[in-house]
């Protein structure tokens, strides 16, 4: 039995669309993603608006990541949101959780003692990382939701564009590098 040409054309178009869509989805999930980021938490590395990041997915699940890398991760307290942070502690590292919680500039004298921010440490467990935003004053990060499981990391940010900049600057293209540099390198 032979279907009319119009039916064959529609079916073939739909089937190729499905296959192409799946390829695009897999590229998006396993190779490369270009996505918008919002929020002040990564200032000055990323703007709070108009910024898009290039993320490489081969670093997902925390593979081959190092301290100082920028990552995109699923928010542990809300899987429908994603966060963009910098890794500031690897498994086994001992972290001072939040000294600013006992800062005399932003806290009452009673709170300084109550929070005891200079004496609260955590050892990052296996398979987790400690991550913080570059804008420590305005960032919801490991200091509030504690260690981030590496399984939630979906990729590493390698570059960014600012779409409010002109074409002449390549939409503000810049590489995003590891900001944790050894002293000896200087």
């Amino acid at each position: 039995m032979r279907y009319p040409d119009s039916v064959r054309f529609v079916v073939s178009t739909l089937s190729w669309t499905l296959r192409a869509g799946c390829v695009a989805h897999l590229v998006h999930e396993y190779i490369y993603e270009f996505t918008e980021t919002r929020g002040e938490s990564m200032l000055p590395t990323l703007q709070s608006h108009y910024d898009y990041v290039h993320a490489l997915k081969r670093y997902r699940l925390g593979r081959e990541l190092d301290i100082g890398d920028c990552v995109v991760a699923v928010k542990p307290s809300d899987p429908s949101h994603r966060v963009c942070k910098r890794i500031s502690g690897m498994p086994g590292d001992v972290i001072l959780i939040d000294p600013s919680s006992s800062s005399e500039l932003t806290n009452l004298p009673t709170e300084v003692i109550l929070h005891d921010g200079f004496n609260k440490y955590i050892r990052v467990p296996d398979g987790h990382v400690w991550c913080t935003g570059d804008n420590l004053c305005h960032s919801l990060d490991s200091r509030s939701y504690s260690v981030l499981p590496m399984g939630l990391i979906t990729g590493k940010i390698v570059a960014a564009n600012s779409m409010n900049r002109g074409v002449t600057t390549g939409w503000g293209f810049r590489w995003i590098q590891n900001s944790f540099v050894d002293e000896s390198d200087d």
Binding site: L61, P76, S77, G127
Partner: protein, 174 residues
């Protein structure tokens, strides 16, 4: 012509892969932490194969007693199978070696335990698991065929008594 056909067949691989990633995928269960629900008995070396549904895993669609698969918080390359014992906001009583006698499951986290409590690395070791780590929900056993489609819901701790059973039990006690 046959080369063309086989190449055309290859273009369906991404579709199949996307399907197994987001809809249904069979998995083999290793280890005895979910015995007797999966891999019961110590004498046989057969490994159960189960069907895992990956639909709606990002939503809060879990209930106590569901068997889920998730990436281990301790090693993201490893996928574990455990039973949901506590949902967000639940107060649970962890077993050893968990340091606290009582704990509340945080927002969008799950408390998971293996059915075989004596041989299971679960929330009693690594604490509550973020729902973002969940890979899917076990729907049914596919292999061995003798236990195909057997009821897997309601583990020892999560099983709620049927009102009728409770009445019978109550009458028995009287």
């Amino acid at each position: 012509m046959s080369l063309r056909k086989s190449l055309l067949a290859l273009t369906w691989i991404p579709v199949v892969y996307t399907f197994t990633n987001h809809v249904y995928q069979p998995y083999q269960i290793r280890g005895s932490s979910m015995s007797p629900t999966f891999n019961p008995g110590t004498d046989s070396t057969t490994k159960d194969i189960v069907l895992v549904s990956k639909l709606k895993v990002k939503e809060t669609s879990f209930t106590r007693g569901d068997v889920i698969m998730f990436r281990s918080p301790e090693n993201p390359e490893k996928i574990l199978t455990k039973r949901v014992v506590g949902l967000q906001g639940d107060r649970v009583r962890p077993k050893s070696p968990y340091p606290k006698a009582q704990t509340v499951v945080p927002r969008n986290h799950l408390w998971v335990e293996g059915d075989n409590a004596f041989h299971s690395i679960d929330s009693n070791n690594f604490g509550p698991v973020s729902q973002g780590l969940v890979v899917g929900k076990v729907v049914t056993i596919l292999w061995p065929l003798s236990r195909f489609g057997k009821d897997i819901l309601g583990g020892r701790d999560a099983r709620e008594l049927d009102p009728k059973d409770m009445l019978v039990k109550l009458i028995g006690e009287i």
